[in-house]
Symmetry: C2
Subunit: 440 residues, 2 copies
């Protein structure tokens, strides 16, 4: 099923209050400031005008032309009637409004879906935070805008989704899309999995769920998606108390975690246990579709190299055994104090040439599937120089990078990011990134 | 043994080259810019002057008066003679210079120690990154300066230590001291454990080790320290390849990890597995000496509350069962949509009053040992307002805070930090912080 009209709309209408700070206003602002190039129509019976980012919009009393998608933030009780009224003019409705099944108003939610079905309108929500179609410059949510990239984030929890977008910005993640589907009255996680599986801008899908309503459908959709691209899943409500809380939160039956876990495994999804792991896996898969198990560690500092090595082994990856030719070639240009065993220690004064050449030599070794490159800020060499070496090194295998030390490597990390290389902040997180890649 | 002359010196001499960028110059700069109030004497046979932060220092040809500590960054081969020469004038020497046992020059290292012993001089290093005594405003290292606080960081690896200082700054950690002890020719991890155990500015000790030379001594020192304050240990070289790499890196025999693990446990140290966990544990222990197992979770957003709950249960903590009185009191002022079960969901529009009162009511519950407070950025309420509620709430139990969403909560996080409340970036890391606290 195509959901293009949601994620790549040509025209949208926003329904709600347009005083500053109101939800509809904030969404309108986000759409306009995000650079949406299609038509945007604010609608409110009180009409008037609204100014956003220097543009003055006439608020229409009612929608009087066709648009791809309506974003609705009006009181819950009038949503079904609104959908019935505008149904002939829209393809999709994103219902932000809360006050449906999540607070016991099942009947109102049924009515909403019924009116939508009558007109062939697909619904996202209600009780959701909205959607982003980032490559279409469409930011149909009040959540913070994000940079374009390869990750589609599907979140049952709006607040989780919003926080993940903001934190994703800090982590250097690029997004293709975001959808918070709230109560999932019509479209749910399975529909989005199937859609993003075929979306060409999406390289990886991240899914936050508490529970699903139709397990069989979900498993099928999950399989469909994982056959096409990596799907990273964070399941909340795994513990006894967590499951109870999830039930009272989204009304979803979290069900036995064991069943979910088996399903994720069976469908070849990448299950992560923590929010941070979701980011790390997403970053890794935005860069590479997969990686083998035999890792070469290149570092300018012994300790962090050892930490990475410990974690890699613990995660079941292998510390690649370098070929004799590789060792000989490294010996030909590295100072005698360097360690030529894997982890390869280039020592503290390693510069551009030493990093670049080592990466290239090691990359050619048939015993090596991927490279984990660590840089602790050298005293006399700007981190940007080492970043440049990583960028310039010719290597056709996955290179996962850990420039560590916060502000001291900020320049290097920024330079890496401008070249599409995402940084991982500790040796252990870098090792985990390679672990996720090895699962595909 | 007192090591005051290292960490609270009245006067120091720095030996080495004072051209810009040289190690001795960088250390001198750090000492001066860090606001050291004692006497600082640069020494180099070539004499001349050196300008640092607007001050011009006369470089002395040789040390001709007594100082507490000498920081030495001259070529390795002349270090023993220098120590012999200045021995009568100093109490301690920090030898930054490399080129001793770590590259096979055991004899030179023995000579160094012998000369120091002859004069009753204690030695840190050689092959180390130096030391900080933060409350004495003494930054005797080229590593990035840090904020004063309660953590003493002892690191066998200089590069790890340097990176941890920089990352600690980003994490909002305050430090009492830092010591990189390199080859540990004289003083080693055991001496520093004992010293910081009795240092009144140190609330917690973090230790990075690859291996120790004298296991019995180490166990005794570790016990001595843990009886007085929490000791967080990150052991590198746990895996087969990691241990081999550690051996070639510091020359230390990493030994069987199982023995170390048993020793840490026996001594009641807090062993962490990742660098990031070291930070989280350090942050928690800078704030609180310990915490019970029964946790109350307070959140304005369901999903993250569920994630925290999952992780707490998984870590063996308990989701506190709130007393009937607590539930009734919460019911009296919270909106009906809020969840009064633990996790307590204050829902998205929770404001200052709702957070503050809930924290205070829950804190009084005898079934609750500690509070985990989550704030996802509310749309209409600045995060600073919620931060203010956490700061103002009267509660005599540990409160561990997770303001999530990067830049969106930066104001709130800064406000918290100004009041000594450290923020944890994800629900899971917050849960882990409570886990570490529960181990004391």
């Amino acid at each position: 099923m195509s959901l293009e009209f949601f994620f790549y709309p040509q025209s949208v209408a926003v329904f709600g209050s347009f005083r500053k700070g109101a939800i509809a206003y904030e969404i309108l602002r986000n759409i306009v400031e995000g650079g949406f190039e299609g038509k945007v129509i604010p609608v409110n019976p009180k009409s008037g005008t609204v100014e956003v980012a220097g543009n003055i919009f006439q608020i229409r009393e009612k929608l009087d032309e066709s648009v791809d998608t309506a974003i609705i933030a009006v009181p819950a009780r009038i949503v079904p009637a609104l959908i019935d009224e505008i149904g002939p003019l829209i393809k999709g409705a994103v219902v932000i409004s809360a006050g449906f099944s999540e607070v016991g108003n099942e009947e109102l939610e049924r009515e909403l879906v019924e009116k939508a079905k009558k007109h062939g309108v697909r619904v996202i929500g209600p009780n959701c935070a909205g959607i982003f179609g980032v490559h279409g410059k469409f930011f149909g949510s009040f959540e913070v805008r994000v940079n374009p990239g390869g990750l589609a984030l599907i979140s049952q929890s709006g607040a989780f989704g919003g926080a993940a977008l903001a934190m994703g910005n800090d982590e250097g993640i690029g997004f293709s899309a975001f959808v918070s589907y709230g109560n999932g009255a019509d479209l749910n996680e399975s529909d989005f999995l199937e859609y993003f599986a075929d979306d060409e801008n999406t390289k990886a899908i991240a899914l936050y769920i508490e529970g699903v309503k139709d397990g069989r459908r979900f498993l099928k959709a999950l399989r469909y998606a994982t056959e096409r691209k990596p799907v990273i899943v964070l399941k909340a409500g795994k513990s006894k108390s967590g499951a109870k809380a999830a039930a009272s939160h989204t009304g979803s039956l979290a069900g036995s975690y064991e069943i979910y876990r088996a399903a994720f495994k069976q469908a070849n999804a990448i299950e992560v246990e923590e929010m941070e792991e979701l980011f790390d896996a997403a970053k890794a898969f935005e860069m590479y579709p997969n990686a083998g198990k035999r890792v070469a560690v290149i570092t300018n500092s012994g300790g962090p190299g050892v930490l990475a090595t410990d974690k890699l082994e613990r995660l079941g990856l292998e510390i690649a055994r370098l070929s004799d030719e590789t060792v000989e070639e490294l010996r030909s240009f590295l100072p005698p104090q360097c360690s030529l065993r894997n982890p390869i220690d280039l020592i503290a004064d390693a510069d551009y040439e030493r990093y670049k050449r080592t990466i290239e030599v090691v990359c050619r070794d048939e015993n090596v599937d991927s490279l984990l490159v660590i840089c602790v800020p050298p005293i006399f060499i700007p981190s940007g120089e080492i970043a440049r070496a990583v960028i310039d090194a010719k290597c056709d295998k996955p290179v996962i990078v850990n420039f560590m030390a916060g502000q001291l490597v900020r320049d290097g990390v920024k330079l890496l990011e401008r070249h599409g290389i995402k940084n991982f902040s500790t040796p252990e997180r870098t090792a985990k990134a390679l672990k996720w890649l090895s699962l595909r």
